[in-house]
Symmetry: C3
Subunit: 167 residues, 3 copies
Amino acid sequence: MENVMMTERLPGLDLNRLANNLNGQYIRCLDNDRLEEWPEFFVENGRYRVHPRDNRESGLEGGHWMYYASRGMMHDRVTSLRHINKYNKRYYRHMIGDTLVTSVKDDIIFASTNYFLAHTNYEGHTSLFNVGEYLDQIVLVDGQPKFLEKLVIPDTFHSHAAVVMPI
Amino acid sequence: MENVMMTERLPGLDLNRLANNLNGQYIRCLDNDRLEEWPEFFVENGRYRVHPRDNRESGLEGGHWMYYASRGMMHDRVTSLRHINKYNKRYYRHMIGDTLVTSVKDDIIFASTNYFLAHTNYEGHTSLFNVGEYLDQIVLVDGQPKFLEKLVIPDTFHSHAAVVMPI
Amino acid sequence: MENVMMTERLPGLDLNRLANNLNGQYIRCLDNDRLEEWPEFFVENGRYRVHPRDNRESGLEGGHWMYYASRGMMHDRVTSLRHINKYNKRYYRHMIGDTLVTSVKDDIIFASTNYFLAHTNYEGHTSLFNVGEYLDQIVLVDGQPKFLEKLVIPDTFHSHAAVVMPI
């Protein structure tokens, strides 16, 4: 069982950089189609949520596009994706901005990061598929940063293809 | 009255980072639709200009899309925008590159930064709305970096919607 | 003749930052249309290759869009570009992500960086023209970082205009 509770305070880390590096590794994992490693960016009972800005600003608590509350659920999702997406080659490519740590509370680092996601379809055409913001809760587990929660808030709520992959 | 003139030299700051952080806060302000705070990124008589690359390279001194020469003018613009844009929900999302400080002269930091601006319309469709470069003049006011001038130079000079919001 | 072989080990540099700064200068050179300086980012016998991801993942060693193996070849390319592209004004604008140094071997720094490239045509319309990854081999030449090889791997393999300029 992993040690999520930290008995020591966060050391003198550059938290903006730590959170940005974590996001940098996260998007590389997705862009390189190493989906099987994706759940490992989270703690065991970590949450991954995709909740469009439109719904949030309308006060809708529901309306999530994705909601996984453990690594197990995420692994299931990856297995499923591997089955449905065998033939259509598609590429995803992220660009993220600097990460801003907005607060630290009870050893949880709260951070936000802008993202742009480009999608290249099987014909090789690229489009700006989805843009928005990551709102992350990050903890140190045995010295390694992990997502306690990754909340993706897309600005985009219509696109030519469904959002089936993690963003 | 704010203290724009600095009697001390710029301290041993990482100026690239300082200028990049200022731009990072600036785009967050716009992306989160906190327009009322936008003028506060400028000194009292700061200038905000949008001058397309096409005009500049043709030697046209004029042809600005926007030109405000004080915080007061910027506040007026925001008031106006709040009136004309009550019903159409739109989202803007910026991505900026690293900021390069090109020179420092008379306590003014000259810096350039690439930007991409994505626009999501009321139907939820996202497009790459405008790209270009920021050419900034930054000063420290009571220790806080502020824009003496922000010159936005769009590559894009035609788009499906008018540029009415600050970039 | 430049001193590519280094007799001393890489000093205690922040290699991620060094590689990122080099890429930052590289894209500024291209975005500002200073093409004549482009070959200078490479060592004398440096290689510039554009090899689409689609071909690579299909196991095709060939299928390069561009392959230059010296500064001389790059200069020739620039001369040629200046001849064919006199009248159509076009702008390019890059956005790059953080650079990750993946390994260092025999004084060669191996690094990868995501890029997005926007293209603005003569009518002023901007599109996301090409996205992908840089895989760089960087060496220090007289203390200055240079590309021993820059391998561009586009995700995009169809676009509305041919890829004629360096990416």
